[in-house]
């Protein structure tokens, strides 16, 4: 299990979702990805993408103006 960070700051939706999706394709099951965004819409959209594609949301938080979403890559998820 490895930890990764994805900088999606200044990107507006759906770009944070697309970057998350593309990054997860390169990761292994059990890897942890921390996505950092500035678009508050990412707080809804990235978890929604994870739910429908089977990845686990470990934590979401807002620090100052940054939205942080921590994801565990699941084998039920979309890796195609």
């Amino acid at each position: 299990m490895s930890k990764y960070e994805l900088d999606a700051k200044r990107l507006l939706c759906p770009m944070p979702v697309i970057r998350t999706q593309d990054k997860i394709k390169t990761l292994a099951v059990g890897d942890i990805l921390e996505v950092v965004c500035t678009d508050p819409g990412a707080l809804n959209d990235v978890p929604a993408w994870c739910r429908i594609n089977g990845h686990k949301i470990l934590e979401t938080k807002t620090v100052d103006d940054e939205v942080i979403i921590i994801i565990e890559v699941s084998d039920a998820g979309d890796k195609t």
Partner: protein, 347 residues
């Protein structure tokens, strides 16, 4: 045991693609969604940028639809490839800069590539004959099939009974009798079907989420092209068209004036790309300058920008003009009066 057939559905986030997908799911087809981001589906960006809109509920409608349907959704960045569709539409533009027929053909073509790569059997869309004046007419539906290369792998469940049989129907993968015969601009059949499925809260944006159907946005896009040597664009250019008040005092340059705190903050991220102006003697907006700026342009822009700050009624304010190479000039100017700014300067 027969093979589980798989379809990919073009999910826009609107009601028609939601219903079309549900109709196929009810027939036992495995459906996954695909959504293409062209750079112009930017309906949520104003909410994301503007501070006064921060508390409004935001959602991506395609993700919402997929979650409602219980299917996977693949969102694909097609910004680069889409440029050719927008800049050279074979079938021309609609009422604004919307190349709807070419756009639909492009998206179905991308879906054809996707089903080949991912071993899916066919494609579905939420198109309805007569629903849209450009891309959803009986005459244009075969054009989309032909030019995309989808042929009879493209099934439109909501109006399939009004169209020739497709491969999934002929092969018995789907039951044609359970498909629908919607047509025309009325939305009543869709709304009735949504009610039957208990779909509530679906998105109903006029013209879809694409801002190329929006006159103000299209006008800004055309103005940008007319004042550059090339019609090429980047995603940042498209973002800028959604932000601020756009003023073109002369052919050399355009001003983008932040309208509120959220926009000013968003525009701060672009200070390395554009010359910019802000007021040092009073509170006021950030202004980005797009174009080649002479000294007299800078002074004119400073006077206009001062108009939108708290020093608008002062005899003189101090404006800092900053260039991407680090050069900074402080100008003392008299803010322009509102009636000194011609209406024609507003893009």
């Amino acid at each position: 045991m027969s093979k589980q057939r798989k379809a990919v559905s073009l999910i826009s986030g609107g009601l028609d693609s939601l219903l079309a997908t549900k109709v196929l799911l009810d027939q036992g087809i495995h459906v996954e969604g695909i959504n293409f981001f062209t750079g112009f589906c930017v309906e949520g960006h104003t909410h994301a940028i503007r501070k006064q809109d921060k508390d409004k509920v935001k959602r991506n409608n395609a993700l919402w639809s997929a979650e409602k349907l219980g299917i996977k959704l693949h969102i694909i960045d097609v910004i680069e490839e889409y440029k050719d569709v927008l800049l050279n539409p074979k079938h021309g533009y609609g009422q604004n800069m919307n190349p709807c027929l070419d756009c639909k053909g492009f998206m179905v073509k991308k879906a054809v590539e996707w089903i080949k790569e991912n071993d899916f059997d066919f494609i579905i869309t939420g198109e309805v004959i007569g629903q849209r004046p450009m891309s959803q007419r009986k005459e244009t539906m075969p054009i989309i099939q032909q030019e995309s290369g989808a042929g009879d792998l493209l099934l439109r469940p909501l109006c399939a009974k009004n169209l020739p049989e497709t491969l999934p129907e002929r092969e018995g993968w789907v039951d044609r009798d359970k498909l629908l015969d919607f047509s025309g601009r009325t939305r009543k059949p869709q709304m009735a079907l949504a009610k039957k499925y208990n779909f509530e809260g679906y998105a109903t944006p006029a013209g879809g989420c694409c801002f190329l159907t929006d006159k103000n946005y299209s006008d800004k896009l055309v103005d940008m092209w007319e004042h550059r040597s090339s019609r090429d664009y980047e995603l940042d250019d498209l973002m800028m068209l959604k932000v601020g008040r756009h003023i073109r005092p002369n052919e050399n340059f355009k001003m983008i004036v932040g309208r509120e705190q959220g926009e000013n903050k968003f525009m701060e991220g672009y200070r390395k790309m554009y010359p910019y102006i802000y007021c040092t003697s009073h509170n006021g907006p950030l202004t980005l300058l797009d174009g080649n700026i002479t000294e007299s342009d800078a002074e004119l822009a400073a006077r206009i920008a001062a108009r939108y700050g708290q020093g608008r009624d002062a005899d003189e304010v101090e404006m800092s003009v900053n260039y991407p190479d680090g050069k900074q000039v402080v100008l003392k100017v008299k803010p322009m009066l509102s009636d000194e700014i011609p209406e024609a300067w507003y893009v």
